[in-house]
Structures are given as structure tokens and as C-alpha cells.
């Protein structure tokens, strides 16, 4: 049987000179689930954006269903049945499910839309998908897991039989992931082809038939899923042996941060933190683990003084708290500012010339160069805007700046999100080092592996409450996953 998609020697050079793909060839067979595995920046998303017509390759040939194609836009790709669900959803929150699904592909009746006809068709597809929601519900009211299914529904409505999913599980709860996988298997049974982009080895092993590993814009290897092992995949992805982070035994000091019956309101005025109690000791990593949107954001903002406390108390034994925010691009950095100015944000008062109002930029540049050395930040010129750095290096800039404030209490929120394996390990090791130095670390995360790997104690947050707290060694994946979903075991 000839392959349904064949990409030959694809090269992609972005206008800024970044080489994302250095000659990648890929074949996809009809009816298979192909895993595209690799670290951030390996070129997975770029390759699939090319296949879905969003961007054009610099060089290379693409054959779909036996014909040479040259997609100029996603619509060209759709005509060949290729559709991509992006990591960041492209739904309009104010529109209903139905409106979102038909957007751009409305069936017209005179001057209006043939609502009867389209809603019948969409309803049918939704039933096939197992999506049992009222199609008139505005997307804004849907949980993330359902939104993703709406994205997939949108693709089916457009007649897609080669479905590309870009890191589809990154925002889902463990239960939602299960349900997504069930759906994907059903697709496969119907003869549809799925390309599944991921950087999570465990997921690739669970859902795919075949795995292609990309590294630095090249194909590193290709394996049949049933005939490979996690360690083989990890070796292919990073080309170095991944060893677990070692941690000296748990030896906590005095409590550093005491949270007593804390109540905090969210943006809409309702309580999102509902009476939380916990203590973080010096010399430990305390993990607040939960699916996003369960009050973590408000909790942390109240702790660091960005949000008013309605009731309860926060007692910090050290004067300053260092805060590594969740979204580095909005909360952590000023993307349009040069790297060196980003490294002094908030501590710029320490860089005055002879205590006047003037800044001593020579001192600033020294400080930046020191941080770059200490935290291995890869940057060609510190005068360039920080937005030109890779995600991992951006995160290092945030962390370097925050740790240069030399506080004894560190609050880190999703510090490894979107980072590649090497950068993730670096950040986790750094947090463990801080703990070993006797600092108090509060880690907010939704990543079960991360929580189990580095936390000493874990509190699971669900709907604004801590519904379970224990030593990390007493948790396993399953117990933690269930608790995160609100199921008390």
C-alpha cells in the first residue's frame, strides 16, 4: 500500500535565519496513529505546520494521496483532508459550539446560514465523537477537555481524514487524556489517520502505532511502538542518558511560610481559594499539585501580595518572597526589552550611579553577564530583545533574576512548562539545590512526574481546597491523579 502522506527532504529556514528543519523525510500510512516525538525546538510543530499549509517549506517535496502538492494555505490542505488542531486553541469564546464548528464553512441558504441543515450534520458528528453537550453552549463555558473535542469536531466537519494534533494533552487532566485517547482509537477504527505531536514519552507509547523521533531539525530515529522502550526513546530524544535527580534525605527546618485558613477571591469576585491551610518549612519543597484553575493562581498571588486576602493569614518568616510566575512571556518578562534590562526588572533600584536617579548600565551589564554564566543562558547579544530567546533560556532569565533577589522563600509556578528535557532537568535540579541550601520552596505544578520527582511533601488542590496532604513518597501516580480529579481515595 502506498503511503497516504510522504514528505521528502523538507528544509525550513525562518525569515530570522533560524533553521527549524534540516532535511526531514516522513511517511505516514493510512489508518495509523503516528507519534512525532521530540523536544521543544526539535521541529515537530514546524513540520506539521508545513503539512497543514500554515507555512511553506524552504525546500522539499510533499505528496499526499499519491499526488504532489504545494499548499499555499490551510484551506489547500483541508481540500486534501488534512487538518491540524493547534496547541493554542483557535476557538472564539463568545460563539457557541455550533458557530465555532461551522465558522468559515457555513452552508448558505439565501442570505443566511442553513442552521437546520448544519446543526443536523454537526449533531451527527458530535454523537459519533461521543460529545454530549448542547451545541448552543458558548465555548467560554466549556472545560478545556471539551474545547479540544470541539476543535476536533471542527476538523471532522471540514472533512478531515488526516488529523494532526499538536501536544493535545498539555492542558488536560489525566481523566480527560484517557477520554481523548479513547476517541482517537475510535478514529483509527474508522480508517482515519492521526499524527500525534508530543514530547511525553509515556503518551507516545500509550497511543501510537509508530514513532518518529525528531531532534534539532533532523529525524533521529523511527521505531514501531510495540518494539521500543522508554529509555530507548529518551536516548534518541536527548542523546544523553537521563538519570534521576538525586536528593539528600528530607531534613526540614523551622516553618518558613504558614498559611492559615486563607480565603481569596478570583477575578469574577467569587471565592476561588476556600480556606487553605499549609506550612512550608525551610529546607523542603512543598508541592501544591492540581489541575490548573483550581485556585492555584489566586493562592499564589495572595501569597506574594498581588491579590488581597479576604480572610485568614499568611505568615512569612523571611521578609522577601521570590516569585517565579507561571507565564514567563506575560508575567515574567518584558518581551520587547533587551535581555540585560529584563535581568534587573524590579531590582533596578540597586543599579544607581552614585545613589542618584541615574542608572549605572555598566553595572547592569556586569550583573547580566554574571547571571548568564551562572545559569548557562544561551544568548548571542544581551542587547537583543528577550523575545528572541528560546523558551528554556527565557525561563532561565526569569529564574536567574528572581534568584538574584536572594530571598529565602521561593514560590515557583509551573516552572518547567513548555521547556525541553534538558531545561526541565536544569530547573528541577536548581529547585532541589535551593532546598538543600535550606531555603523554603513552594512549587505549584500540574505535572505529576514533576511533583513526585522533586517534592518532599505534596498538598493536592481541588476547587480551592487542599483535599489531600502527605509526604511525597506516600503518593504514586494513580493516587495523585485521582486526587487531582477530585476523587478522594
Amino acid at each position: 500500500m502506498p503511503p497516504i502522506v510522504e514528505m521528502k527532504n523538507i528544509v525550513k529556514v525562518y525569515p530570522d535565519g533560524t533553521v527549524a528543519l534540516r532535511g526531514v523525510s516522513l511517511t505516514v500510512m493510512k489508518g495509523e496513529i503516528l507519534g512525532l516525538l521530540g523536544e521543544n525546538g526539535a521541529g515537530k510543530t514546524t513540520l506539521m505546520k508545513i503539512l497543514s499549509g500554515l507555512i511553506q517549506p524552504t525546500r522539499g517535496e510533499i505528496y499526499v494521496k499519491g499526488r504532489r502538492v504545494n499548499f499555499k494555505s490551510p484551506r489547500d490542505a483541508l481540500n486534501y483532508g488534512i487538518g491540524m488542531v493547534h496547541q493554542h486553541f483557535t476557538l472564539i469564546p463568545e460563539f457557541s459550539i455550533l458557530e465555532n464548528v461551522i465558522l468559515g464553512f457555513e452552508k448558505r441558504k439565501f442570505l443566511s446560514i442553513d442552521w437546520k441543515e448544519v446543526s443536523k450534520k454537526v449533531q451527527e458528528l458530535a454523537r459519533e465523537l461521543g460529545l454530549n453537550v448542547d451545541l448552543r453552549t458558548p465555548v467560554a463555558k466549556l472545560p478545556v477537555g471539551i474545547r479540544q473535542k470541539v476543535e476536533i469536531l471542527k476538523m471532522l466537519y471540514r472533512g478531515v481524514d488526516i488529523l494532526i494534533l499538536d501536544e493535545p494533552t498539555s492542558v488536560l487532566t489525566p481523566l480527560e487524556v484517557k477520554s481523548l485517547f479513547k476517541m482517537l482509537r475510535k478514529f483509527k477504527e474508522q480508517g482515519k489517520t492521526i499524527i500525534f505531536i508530543t514530547h511525553k514519552i509515556r503518551e507516545a507509547l500509550t497511543i501510537t502505532d509508530r514513532i518518529v523521533v525528531l531532534r534539532k531539525g533532523l529525524v533521529e530515529g523511527e521505531v514501531i511502538t510495540s518494539k521500543t522502550t522508554p529509555s530507548e526513546l529518551a536516548r534518541m530524544m536527548v542523546k544523553i542518558a537521563v538519570t534521576p535527580i538525586s536528593k539528600p534525605p528530607y531534613n526540614p527546618g523551622e516553618p518558613a511560610l504558614i498559611v492559615k485558613d486563607l480565603w481569596v477571591r478570583g477575578d469574577l469576585g467569587l471565592y476561588t481559594v476556600k480556606g487553605i491551610n499549609f506550612k512550608v518549612h525551610y529546607g523542603e519543597i512543598y508541592g501544591i499539585v492540581g489541575v490548573e484553575g483550581n485556585g492555584q493562581k489566586e493562592l499564589v498571588e495572595a501569597l506574594v501580595g498581588l491579590r488581597p486576602i479576604e480572610r485568614g493569614k499568611v505568615i512569612a518568616k523571611s521578609k522577601t518572597i521570590t516569585y517565579i510566575p507561571a507565564d514567563r512571556t506575560i508575567e515574567g518578562l518584558i518581551l520587547d526589552m533587551p535581555v540585560y534590562e529584563n535581568t534587573i526588572l524590579g531590582i533596578h533600584g540597586m543599579f544607581k550611579k552614585w545613589k542618584t536617579i541615574f542608572m549605572d548600565y555598566r553595572k547592569v551589564i556586569n550583573h547580566t553577564n554574571q547571571l548568564i554564566k551562572k545559569y548557562d543562558i544561551v544568548v548571542t547579544d544581551i542587547k537583543l530583545p528577550v523575545k528572541l530567546l528560546s523558551g528554556g533560556n527565557q525561563q532561565r532569565v526569569v529564574i536567574a533574576r528572581e534568584l538574584s533577589k536572594k530571598a529565602d522563600i521561593i514560590v515557583a509556578v509551573h516552572p518547567t512548562r513548555g521547556l525541553d528535557i534538558a531545561a526541565t532537568r536544569y530547573v528541577r535540579k536548581l529547585l532541589v539545590d535551593l532546598r538543600n541550601q535550606g531555603k523554603a520552596v513552594l512549587l505549584v505544578t500540574a505535572d505529576i512526574d514533576e511533583a513526585l520527582e522533586i517534592c518532599d511533601r505534596i498538598g493536592v488542590i481541588y476547587e480551592g481546597k487542599i483535599i489531600g496532604e502527605d509526604m511525597a513518597c506516600n503518593f504514586n501516580e494513580e493516587r495523585l491523579g485521582l486526587l487531582m480529579g477530585g476523587v478522594k481515595a
Binding site: 498581588l306 510566575p325 506575560i330 518578562l333 526588572l345 524590579g346 544607581k352 542608572m359
Partner: protein
């Protein structure tokens, strides 16, 4: 980069204006040469153009600094009138040795602008009220307040035009020399643009203003007091706009004249946009604006272009020149609104 894009857009503006002139039956070459002759053809016209630059530079710096903080405050015209009123009152009511009196009156004029920025500054910084709407309303209050001073409270009944009594001679800003009919405020304005440049790029406050302007969320989380920074920005900006009015009263007219500003406050806003809010670029941008002000009469009289058409040409040149920055500012605001700020 910024300089090139500024120059290109100015050229594009003149080009589009030329096309419009051609399409309406005028010769662009005749019209534009009349424009430049009107602005630079004689010694007097050159000094008229340079004098017109003074308020535009001050108002331009005033606008540039608030725009840098991503505040779309456009109250310079009102602040200019209030600055003119307070400078007039200080020049008319206070007695002091000459020179000292001038400086006092100028400072009082600047403080008048600050006063007019306090309310919108406070409401924007601490209560999140839309600064653009506040600015438009306050502009009108300021203009009518100045009408009241000119036509009623301090009207000089023997003057041939609607104006107040003259300020005391000790408060007048002198010309640079007898041969150069250009007052010292021109030099002050040029120096000010360098001072504001230093402030923006070399001081902690400038760093805070730029940070807050580019991303208030990250700035706040990193520990910058965003509200305070907004408020300080309003104060400095107000002082500069007030100086624009004060320099007209003390340097050009010697009194408060009925509706003396042909829109210098707005010219300043345009200058800031053309200069991409770069304080050093405000000077050439102000030269362009002043040229259009003083040269347009020539275009009208010599080239026979109708008054309305002159305004249209001016408008086209300015809109095209200012579009890139306006686009950037709107884009940034939309981005920030998405993140509820």
C-alpha cells in the same frame, strides 16, 4: 530602523498629498514649493517657523512620555491653555526682578499643566478610568476657562484683538539677540528634549516608565509600583505641556490671547507619533509640523490652493506619517486587554 520608517512615512504622506493635489487640479510642485517658500523663503518666515516649533516640541515631549507608558492621554491642548493662564497670572500679578520673574512664571505655567494632569492621572492610575475620554473633556474645560480669563476677567478693553492685559516686562522671555527674533525658549525646548531623552533611557524612572509601558503585568509582578509610575508620568508630561502654553504667553504674545493656539497641543501629539515617542526625534518632527503651520498660508496665497484643501493636505501628510506608531500602540493595547489590563 525607527528613523528610516519615520522618514519613509513622511515621504509617503507628501506623496499622497501630491497625488490629491494633482487630482484636484493643482500642481503639486507649485503648491509644495509655495509651502516651503512660506516656511523658509524669507528670514522672518524662517524665524516664524522656528518659533512655532517651541510649543510643538514641548507638547510633543509631553505626549511622547505618556505614550511611552502606553497611556493614550491626549490632554496636551487643555494643559497648554491652563499653562498659559497660570503663566499669565504669574506674569501679571507677581512682581520680581526680570529674569527671576520669567523663571517663576515659566515654572508656574508648567505647574498649571501638572494641575490639569493630576485629576486624570489620579483617576487613571488609581481607579482605571479611561484617560483618553478624560483628556477630551478636560481640554474643553481648559479652553473655555481661558475664554473667561481673556474675554471677561482680565480683558484689556483698549486692545485691538481679544486679549488680556500684558504681563509685566520683567516676566517676558527675551529674544536671543536683537538680530535673531527667536526667544530663548527655543533653546530651552531643544535642551528639554535631551533631558527627557536622558530621563527615559538613563534613569530608574525612565526604566520604570518604559517597563510599565511595554508590559504592566510583568512590571507589577517584578515589584514596580505601576500606579505610582503612571502618576509620575502624568506629572512630568503635564509640566511639559504647561510649558508649551507658558512659552507662548511669555515669549511670543506677552499676554493671553483669545484661542491663541491653532492646535499646538495636537501638533505635539502628532509629532510624538511621527517621532515614535523618541524624545530626540521630536525636534525634526516638530520642524515638519511647524513647516506645515507656517507654510500653508503660502500654499494658499501663492499656489491658490483653497483653505480647506490645505487642511486636507496637512491632514493626509500627518495621518500617513503617524500611522505606524498609532498602529503599534493600538496593537499593544489590544494585546494587553486580552490579558485584562
Amino acid at each position: 530602523m525607527d528613523v528610516i520608517s519615520s522618514i519613509t512615512s513622511v515621504i509617503a504622506g507628501f506623496g499622497l498629498g501630491a497625488l490629491l493635489l494633482y487630482l484636484t487640479g493643482y500642481s503639486p510642485i507649485v503648491a509644495y514649493s509655495a509651502l516651503f517658500h512660506g516656511a523658509f523663503g524669507t528670514v522672518e518666515s524662517i524665524f516664524d517657523t522656528l518659533t512655532a516649533m517651541i510649543p510643538i516640541i514641548f507638547a510633543g515631549l509631553s505626549a511622547a512620555i505618556v505614550f511611552k507608558a502606553s497611556l493614550f492621554f491626549i490632554g496636551m491642548e487643555g494643559q497648554l491653555y491652563i499653562g498659559a493662564i497660570t503663566a499669565f497670572l504669574a506674569g501679571y500679578l507677581i512682581s520680581a526682578p526680570s529674569g527671576v520673574h520669567t523663571i517663576i512664571a515659566l515654572i508656574v505655567g508648567g505647574l498649571g499643566g501638572v494641575l490639569w494632569g493630576l485629576l486624570p492621572g489620579y483617576l487613571r492610575a488609581y481607579h482605571g478610568v479611561n484617560e483618553t475620554v478624560l483628556a477630551i473633556m478636560l481640554n474643553w474645560i481648559a479652553i473655555y476657562l481661558s475664554d473667561y480669563i481673556v474675554e471677561y476677567a482680565f480683558i484689556d478693553p483698549y486692545a485691538t484683538i481679544a486679549r488680556t492685559y500684558k504681563v509685566k516686562p520683567s516676566a517676558i522671555v527675551p529674544d536671543i539677540s536683537r538680530d535673531i527674533p527667536l526667544n530663548y525658549m527655543f533653546i530651552v525646548a531643544v535642551i528639554s528634549s535631551f533631558i527627557i531623552g536622558l530621563l527615559m533611557y538613563k534613569t530608574t524612572l525612565g526604566f520604570e516608565i518604559r517597563s510599565v509601558g511595554l508590559n504592566p503585568i510583568a512590571s507589577r509582578i517584578a515589584g514596580i509600583n505601576v500606579r505610582k509610575t503612571y502618576f509620575k508620568t502624568f506629572i512630568i508630561s503635564g509640566f511639559l505641556a504647561g510649558l508649551a502654553g507658558a512659552s507662548m504667553v511669555l515669549g511670543v504674545f506677552g499676554s493671553l490671547v483669545y484661542r491663541f493656539s491653532p492646535g499646538y497641543g495636537w501638533d505635539g501629539i502628532t509629532a510624538a507619533l511621527i517621532a515614535k515617542n523618541n524624545p530626540f526625534m521630536i525636534i525634526p518632527a516638530s520642524l515638519l509640523l511647524a513647516t506645515l503651520r507656517t507654510g500653508s498660508i503660502g500654499m494658499m496665497l501663492v499656489a491658490g490652493v483653497s483653505n480647506e484643501m490645505v487642511l486636507v493636505i496637512q491632514g493626509i501628510i500627518l495621518i500617513v506619517a503617524a500611522i505606524p506608531e498609532v498602529y503599534r500602540m493600538i496593537h499593544r493595547r489590544i494585546m494587553l486587554r486580552r490579558f485584562r489590563l
